[in-house]
Symmetry: C2
């Protein structure tokens, strides 16, 4: 319950500000006023603004399960349903933000056009972590999915569905765009599950 240290306060404030305003549109002054710190304190901990971004991306990477995946999977055991539970969590975030929600990683990935290699690598790692969580579900689904299915590709496709749905929902300010994307993915899974069942049934 003790006050978090300076570094943590900065990272948490920057996390939210980068998410709401984007990286370039967030000034150091924004972070300072939000954290009630002075410029020197920030620059004592971080060499520069980009290093704050790096710390934010590391925080997303390290908090993936704790902050996003585990809450979404609470009370959901079926591996396939876990995938859609995670997507449902994003739907909730969209509603909670009046359809202004944007995936923090996706937004940063598209905003930073000439990103430093370290930053780009962290963006990629964040995507890989997310896809890894889905991949775990697909592995757990075992032979309910067709044999020979490229599970890595399918896991990436789930991320694609989320990112595309979030992007369109925000642009149109309408969850329907997200819902229809998830619905299409659901059809995709249903067809895959049906195909696997058809092969398994006639033993």
């Amino acid at each position: 319950m003790s006050a978090p240290d300076v570094r943590t306060r900065i990272v948490m404030a920057a996390m939210e500000l980068f998410w709401v305003k984007g990286y370039n549109s967030t000034s150091i002054a924004d972070i300072l006023s939000r954290t009630q710190l002075n410029a020197g304190s920030l620059y004592h901990v971080f060499p520069g603004k980009q290093d704050v971004l790096i710390a934010v991306l590391e925080a997303y990477r390290d908090g993936l399960y704790e902050n996003l995946v585990d809450p979404a999977w609470e009370g959901v055991d079926d591996p396939v349903e876990r995938i859609f539970a995670l997507l449902a969590r994003y739907r909730w975030l969209i509603l909670e933000t009046d359809c202004t929600y944007g995936c923090p990683i996706g937004s940063l990935a598209l905003e930073l056009h000439e990103a430093d290699p370290v930053v780009r690598e962290l963006l990629a790692v964040n995507f890989t972590g997310w896809v890894g969580a889905i991949l775990r579900c697909l592995d757990d689904a075992g032979d309910r999915l067709p044999p020979g299915l490229d599970k890595q590709a399918l896991a990436e496709f789930v991320l694609t569905t989320m990112e595309g749905g979030v992007m369109q929902a925000r642009t149109h300010r309408d969850v329907g765009y997200f819902d229809r994307g998830v619905s299409a993915l659901r059809d995709h899974f249903d067809m895959l599950l049906a195909r696997a069942a058809r092969r398994a049934q006639p033993a």
Copy 2:
């Protein structure tokens, strides 16, 4: 062959700069040096920077078929193949830019967090136009697709696949992410076409 007028030169330069560097990272000075114009000339035509953005988005909207769709569809008549021909064009763009390609509209949609209503509407209209082109293909495919299929949703799903694939390909600097997304969408279409054929065959 005569030199294009000032407005056109500005819009064309801004189109490329916004695409390469993003909106916020492109300065008026960038546009001026690229067009060899002076500040006064730009401000004589446009009230401000945002109006340049609006003109750029209108140009994308108005040039959708001429600059993107028609070239992609040249020599491709089958409506379903036209969808994948359009995606193939994006694949080519990704390769042409060494996997740094980003959809101009998608990038702007995620970069502009607190966008003016006019700008947001134009972003939405651009998406709608793109989806409309896909929808036309789906309609042309007629009863090759299952009856009762939500074609609007499927068309949006194609956009989702493109945006998600482009985003991941760029972040990982690897076309494979785009290819696997398209491949998953191909599977999706194959399964839909097979389902429709199964229903039609046993007359």
